[in-house]
Symmetry: C2
DNA sequence: ATATATCTACCTATCAGTAGATAGGGAATC
DNA sequence: GATTCCCTATCTACTGATAGGTAGATATAT
């Protein structure tokens, strides 16, 4: 039997919810046990019961984020490459516009040189798995260099989030990513 | 006479050098007065003589970075649009590969929601001035939508830095940005 | 004498993390 | 049926380290 995934308790997932929001606003050093605790109405010591260290909390954060992000993408055998790419762009747009938050792994990716090793590893896994997904799309579309196209797509989207948030102009994300799916497939 | 720029003292610029490196590794919360001071061999209280607050230090950091970055780009009337774009990509490549650092404003742009207002404003100015520069290039090249092309270019490059650093594969930056100049002009 | 630049010594706030007490809810034992 | 035991989940109270920032003394150079 493989590793049994124990389901998160109510409190544990509320801790992750708050930590994720804080991390997606300001990075790894922008969430603290105290702030999380006071927001959900417990004491900071209680968080250590659910996540022994900040490192462990950071790992759980990235793991949950990655699984949810990839899980929200539809099945590749049920869509055309163009549809898949449009869906992929929409996933980023939703994170940015509806939640007004950065991509967690874009944020952690920027800070990766100062992240605890296990958190950095999980962050790398996010990008690896996204690259695989996109490479599959571009290979299905007959692209000559699927690896480059996949990397360009992720780079373009993460960068567009940063730019739009920096300029405080969320519509800029739309204008800068509108041509992405068609353009990437034409290349 | 407009605002006279007083030149930075030797110590002040060494403070900025160290702070910039730390910020470009881990963001605004990754550099501290103590760490900077101990690295350059003074006491942390002395830094406050040159930069009264961390906010002021952050502002000076972004201002110097922006001026240097744009100053390193050649004059637009002495190059073709393609040459200008290639030079722009090279500026990012140098920051990433030679110095093994993130773009300061890409980093601060990601964290912008938790940055002191004056630092956030300076960060926005970096992107504004870069957008203007790139729009000029694309307009000279006869692009139909210079604003979108300029935003796409910045997004692509900032994102490529994050991706390459996350994957610990600096050559990935090359592969993901190799087609950028020609591609952006063809669009 | 004054301006520049550094120091010592300190402050208050915050950080992640720990020890140990407490309360409640089963389940096993008597 | 009552008692004992243990597990879960929280608490209070604390530690040592670090954060940015301040006051005031000191040294040097013009």
């Amino acid at each position: 039997m493989p590793k049994t995934e124990k389901p998160l308790s109510e409190t544990a997932s509320r801790i992750l919810d708050v930590a994720e929001r804080m991390a997606r606003q300001g990075g790894y050093y922008a969430f603290s046990f105290r702030d999380i605790a006071s927001e959900i109405g417990i004491k900071s010591a209680s968080i250590h019961y659910h996540f022994p260290t900040k490192e462990a909390l950071g790992e759980a954060l990235v793991t949950r984020y990655t699984d949810r992000f990839l899980g929200a993408l539809g099945r590749l055998d049920e869509a055309t490459p163009l549809e898949s790419l449009e869906q992929y762009v929409a996933a980023y747009r939703q994170a940015l516009i509806e939640q007004d938050l950065m991509c967690l792994c874009g944020m952690f990716g920027a800070e990766i040189a100062r992240l605890p090793d296990p958190v950095a590893r999980r962050t790398r896994e996010f990008f690896e798995r996204n690259l695989v997904w996109l490479e599959t799309v571009f290979r299905a579309a007959g692209a000559t260099n699927p690896e480059a196209r996949a990397g360009e797509t992720i780079a373009h989207l993460e960068g567009a989030m940063i730019l739009a948030r920096s300029m405080n102009d969320m519509d800029l994300f739309q204008r800068v990513t509108a041509d992405l799916p068609a353009q990437a497939l034409r290349e």
